[in-house]
Amino acid sequence: MARYLLHRLLAGLLTLWVVASLAFGLMRLAPGGPFQKDKPLAPAVEANLRRTFGLAADVPSPAAGTLVRFLVRPGQQVAAGAPLAEIRLENNVLTQPSASRDLAVIAQVGAPGRVLRVGDPLLARATSGWEQYGHAMWSYAHLDFGVTYASEGADTVLATLARAFPVSLELGIWALFLALVVGVSAGLVSGLKPNSRLDHVAMTGALLAVSMSSIVLGPLFKLIFCVQLRWLDVGGWQPLAFDWPHAQVKILPVLTLGLIYAAWFARLTRAGMLEVIRQDFVRTARAKGLPERLVVLRHAFRGAILPVVSFLGPALAGIVTGSTVIEQVFQVPGVGEFFVTSAVNRDYPMVMGTVVLYSSLLIAANLFVDLLQAALDPRVRGDNG
């Protein structure tokens, strides 16, 4: 078991690395950049921003002396070996240090007349994709996701996610709870009495909820309960606040998200139950004279719930990282929004933060579900040992 766990954890880390690298690459391939807003920025202003975010690096001066003049301009591509500036050494000899590598100049540091020591920054250059990649992976390994561009460095990715994630988590937990209770019981009832009136009602409801999706259900609920009836309010979510003004804003998002997953759970449970109820071990249990209640709860239920448990993995990750649509409709300040806005705004660190968060949750949830399945199903347990 310990070996299995270790194996899975290592595989999970490898998956994370691949996902992070892919996301990093795709993000850089996407046109545009984090500093392109409505209007183009002046080169100097953009250079200042780039330096703030480590997208620019200093070119150090190899000599000590007084800067006479620059030989390259911002925006210029310089080949290795080309002279960068003219420096008057302390013995009054003029020298022209050259570029040790190909570089893209972003800004000049200081003006002629400046006194330089060895190693003082002379120019700012753009860092290359590989440099940024190496730097990024090294930081991620240390759980440092950097600062968000959206805040222009005032806020770190982790702090932003730490503010938003508990909100999504709370919404997710309530919704999952609702989905499991409603979905599994509806599925059980339907599966036990297929083609009954109850089954038809439950399955029609489930089909409706699945096909409506949050983008219809959310605004509809809002229109009815917030705008027309004015029973409930939208906005102002505070984690773990349960007095009425704060609790009432949680009802609709939980209901919307929960009902949609409940529909899936109901359909899966029903299918599972229909399959299991006809199997030999159930018939044996009945033949032994066990009361129907015990047959269902002790034998059939464990088998019927297996499809739900497999689905629980991806559902868990999805449900606790929030639904972009539901968070938008009901003004829930969770992480869902960042999946969209960070990508659109080319907020590279934030994109990586959300991708890694989601992937880790998905990997963890799947691992958890596999373990749960092993506990529930003797066959799975036997295979994985």
């Binding site: 807003k37 183009p40 400046r114 460095g153 917030c226």
Partner: protein
């Protein structure tokens, strides 16, 4: 199934039916008991005035920090705040500003001229990395310092003569400098608080400010709250006690909040796209539409055939029926643009913009024939690039149809995300591309500078030494009358060479409860909340009878 949906349909029907008597309902509302204003706003990026570069932050923080001057109530000249008065030298380049005696920060520390010097230099400091620093480049030496070419902050043209006197040296005579002084980049920031808390100084628990209101709460993406600042110099004339800013990125949510009475003003959120025309037509007393200092146009690449021929560019401009575009497609009361400068400078500058060509397809066809393409013959299809957005698509399709019908010119549409479009525009790799410009500062020059040969936003690739020369002359001219003549000259050159196809000027449509007074039309869309108050019972009675109650601008700054 159908029966089960019936109650829902009923509710939806009710929602539609109610719109008609909504106007009467709004006028029947009682005046609110408290002095507490709520409005919706998109999320703010920053609380630090040095970094604010977007509308939401500006709208909120301009009530927390005030500079030497502050926007008037409505379209009057700026009024003094931290300043008491100022003098301008004969060449228009040196401003001496005298601070109001006794002004303090909200913690009681006195505000001195040094605070301004330090704050402005901080905005310009490359280490601050401010996206809005360019607005300070009007100061002598500011650009070089901001670009890092000069490291000595003393070279920036702002110095304290004594604790209450500030001397500002400008690069050029800048007739709109008083308006600039109202911008966020020109407010003072509390040096002693920044020194103590570093980057966290602008958090509500640490922030110290000098405006009519104090920021007491800021929950990211949820809510911000302001309360009246008892230490504000003019606190006696500030009416509101509390302001709640409810954050949302969703126009629909903001609209719902307003409709159920949770907010009294829609703030900086837009009306939901599908609601705006209906609200406009409904004649509701709380619906307003104000002109804005923004222009929507197509950049036309002047070095690529067939648009390199000015006759083709003119033909395209003549063949678009902009009146119909505004009336049937835009439906927001937008003024048609025949040039790039909005007609909003009559009172402030005494300037009437140049009127370009109107809709004249006959002349357009003639010009196209003169260029060797009668009925569009011999013209390869022209590609029109625009960015994702329902409005942009409708406009592009309208123009496509117009050019096809009126000129016989085939237009292909290419839709892309904004980042991609901007890259295409900057690379100059297009024939016609959607563009727009909103004023950086309240002066016609901001619209004209776009087409300077060195301007980064000059996507058309237009290069005219004559035009650049006139712009330089405008910048150097201290006399308003002579300056207006030059502005006019620049517009004429632009109209002659036409590196753009002007389409319309923006309007801003919003909802505001009819009992809210002190929110007056302002060309830059700036509305300090210190002017806001509820109508008195007497005024409210008059408004209910259909009267329009407006509060006049305050006496100006000089």
């Amino acid at each position: 199934m159908r029966l089960r949906l019936l109650p829902l349909l009923c509710l939806l029907a009710c929602a539609c039916g109610r719109a008609a008597d909504r106007g009467a309902e709004l006028l029947a509302e009682p005046l609110p008991a408290g002095r507490h204003l709520s409005f919706a706003s998109g999320g703010m990026e920053f609380l630090d005035p040095a970094k604010i570069a977007e509308t939401a932050g500006h709208h909120l923080m301009m009530n927390v920090f005030e500079g030497l001057y502050v926007y008037n109530r409505g379209d009057g000249p700026p009024v003094p705040s931290m300043a008491e008065r100022h003098e301008v030298s004969a060449d228009g380049k040196t401003w001496t500003v005298h601070l109001r005696p006794g002004v303090t920060w909200s913690d009681g520390v006195a505000i001195t001229a040094d605070d301004f010097v330090w704050s402005w230099r901080r905005v310009l400091d490359p280490k601050t990395g401010s996206r809005a620093a360019q607005l300070l480049w009007f100061l002598e030496g500011a650009q070089a310092f901001n670009e890092g070419a000069v490291t000595d902050p003393e070279t920036v043209g702002v110095h304290a003569l004594d604790a209450r006197t500030l001397v500002i040296r400008l690069k050029n005579p800048t007739p709109f400098f008083l308006d600039l002084l109202c911008e966020m980049q020109f407010v003072p920031t509390p040096r002693h608080v920044v020194a103590r808390w570093g980057d966290a100084w602008s958090r509500p628990e640490h922030i110290v400010s000098n405006g009519p209101f104090l920021l007491v709460k800021h929950e990211d993406r949820v809510i911000s709250e302001l309360v009246k600042n008892p230490r504000y110099w003019d606190a006696a004339n500030v009416w509101l006690e509390k302001i709640s800013v409810l954050h949302t990125e969703s126009d629909q949510t903001a609209f719902d909040w307003y409709e159920v009475g949770k907010t009294q003003w829609q703030g900086d959120t837009s009306l939901p796209v599908d609601r705006a025309p209906g609200l406009r037509a409904s004649g509701r007393p709380d619906f307003h539409s104000d002109p804005k200092l923004c222009s929507y146009y197509f950049s036309v690449r002047v070095d690529r055939p067939p648009m390199d021929d000015v006759r083709v560019r003119k033909a395209v401009n003549l063949a678009i029926d902009k009146e119909r575009l505004a009336l049937h497609i835009l439906r927001g009361g937008q003024p048609v643009a025949t040039n790039t400068v909005p007609d909003l400078f009559r009172t402030s500058h005494g300037y009437t913009p140049f009127q370009g060509d109107g809709f004249d397809p006959e002349r357009g066809r003639q010009l196209l024939a003169d260029a060797g393409h009668p009925q569009g013959r011999g013209l390869a299809p022209i590609t029109l690039y625009f960015n994702t957005g329902e409005g942009h698509r409708l406009i592009a399709e309208f123009v496509q149809r117009n050019l096809q019908e009126n000129l016989g010119v085939q237009v292909q549409l290419a839709n892309m995300e904004w980042g991609t479009l901007l890259k295409t525009l900057l690379a100059g790799d297009f024939a016609i591309g959607r563009s727009s410009w909103c004023a950086d500062y309240p002066d016609p020059l901001t619209f004209l500078e776009v087409f300077h040969s060195q301007s980064k936003a000059n996507y058309s690739g237009y290069k005219s030494a004559e035009y650049d020369g006139v712009l330089a002359a405008i910048q150097a001219e201290p006399d308003m009358t002579r300056r207006n003549v030059l502005l006019r000259r620049a517009e004429e050159i632009l109209d002659r060479d036409l590196p753009l196809t002007p389409l319309y000027h923006y309007t801003w449509s919003y909802l505001l409860r009819p009992f809210v007074l002190g929110y007056e039309r302002h060309a830059q869309d700036m509305h300090p909340l210190k002017y806001i108050r509820w109508a008195t019972p007497d005024e409210w009675a008059r408004i209910r009878r259909g009267a329009v109650v407006t509060l006049p601008p305050l006496p100006g700054g000089q």
